[in-house]
């Protein structure tokens, strides 16, 4: 599974660019560490990255850049708001996605990852938000907000976050290090059924932890969401499986004939 590499210097960036074979899809995430939507985008991207096996030559390369620290790079790609995603292949910008819509980001990456580079080069560059690029950081404004507006924005981010993957698990800890018995059990069930899923560690983000309880109208974790809808916690998942052994079939790697390159 691929991971996201942090680029911290202009040299590092130049080096990375020149090291990539022309067929690799380079996924560049511009962020600002102080902006909450960027933290959530980081989760969405690391979930996505983990679905792409590391190949030789690499089919995808994932990097993260602090938009303010490396402002020269941001300027050259017209980054005016964060989070901002740029997709590059063979030194050509294929598409950019501005904003925190997990759905838009996922679909842009999946679209371009499927197409391998045509040897004779020209790929049209598209920008999904070309007309709305504004000077203020649209998703990470510094202006003080009143509590209601903040909540509205939090709920909007949550509604994107629960759709970050078709099967999304909000748990305590991570699948490799669950910090709660119920979270551990639910991970085991997903693994047994070879389910492809994204996860979010709610212990790492109290805003999401408390916000999601309200958004979901559900007081506890783990929470399993499928296709943007809450299924429930461990006990409901167990009950659903008891009632229907094929409950997870549509989301299982086995069903789609994919064999995971590495075991999770």
């Amino acid at each position: 599974m691929s991971t996201i590499k942090d680029i911290t210097t202009l040299d590092g960036w130049a080096q990375h660019l020149s090291s990539l074979p022309p067929s690799t899809l380079l996924i560049v995430s511009f962020n600002a560490p102080w902006a909450a939507p960027c933290a959530q985008m980081a989760t969405v991207l690391s979930t996505l990255a983990s679905e792409y096996p590391v190949t030789e030559p690499p089919s995808t390369s994932w990097v993260s850049i602090d938009a303010e620290e490396l402002s020269d790079i941001s300027e050259s790609y017209n980054v005016t708001a964060v989070p901002f995603l740029v997709l590059i292949r063979n030194s050509q910008v294929l598409e950019t996605v501005s904003g925190s819509s997990a759905v838009k980001v996922r679909s842009a990456i999946e679209t371009h990852a499927k197409q391998s580079a045509k040897p004779d080069g020209e790929q049209p560059a598209t920008s999904t938000n070309g007309s709305t690029a504004t000077v203020d950081m649209a998703d990470a404004s510094l202006a003080p907000k009143d509590a209601e507006k903040q909540k509205e924005e939090l709920f909007k981010r949550l509604s994107d976050l629960v759709k970050a993957a078709p099967v999304m698990l909000f748990m305590k800890g991570t699948p490799s290090e669950p910090k709660c018995g119920f979270s551990r059990q639910i991970v085991a069930i997903l693994r047994e059924n070879a389910v492809k899923y994204g996860f979010f560690n709610i212990l790492a983000d109290d805003e999401v932890r408390q916000g999601l309880k309200e958004y979901a109208d559900w007081p506890t974790f783990p929470q399993l969401w499928i296709d943007g809808e809450l299924v429930g916690g461990l006990d409901i998942v167990k009950e659903e499986m008891a009632g229907d052994a094929d409950f997870f079939k549509p989301y299982s790697a086995k069903a789609n004939g994919d064999v995971p390159a590495t075991s999770s």
Binding site: G181, W218, T220, I236
Partner: protein
């Protein structure tokens, strides 16, 4: 009830559920409340807890769930969570609540399936 109970939270759970179902004129063919707190007492999250009443597993069989609004498990769990909202929100209250919610018919099917598998 002059004497104070040693299991106030468990009592609350029982009282609230039975009272609400009575109000709805529904049956309660089974209400089991298991206190699993001791299984989690050593967890970091529980280190400041002294109540011994933090983790519960409840089994409820009632014909209230035959109503179409309770067709989905999520709705049934939300119903019970709603009754116990304050107890779950309260500091030192219910930390974890496992629920098994069944209609009498579903319980019968389950028992039959278990016996068949045995």
């Amino acid at each position: 009830m002059a004497s104070s109970s040693r299991t106030p939270v468990e009592d609350t759970i029982r009282e609230k559920i039975t009272a609400e179902l009575k109000k709805r004129d529904a049956t309660v063919s089974k209400l089991e409340i298991h206190n699993d707190s001791h299984l989690h007492a050593h967890h970091k999250a529980m280190e400041d807890s002294t109540s011994g009443e933090t983790h519960f597993r409840v089994v409820l069989v009632s014909d209230a769930f035959e109503s179409p609004e309770y067709a989905k498990k999520l709705a049934r769990h939300r119903f019970i969570n709603g009754l116990l909202k304050e107890d779950m929100k309260r500091e030192g209250g219910i930390h974890a609540l496992q629920l098994l919610t069944l209609t009498p018919k579903e319980e019968e099917e389950r028992t039959r399936a278990k016996e068949a598998a045995a």
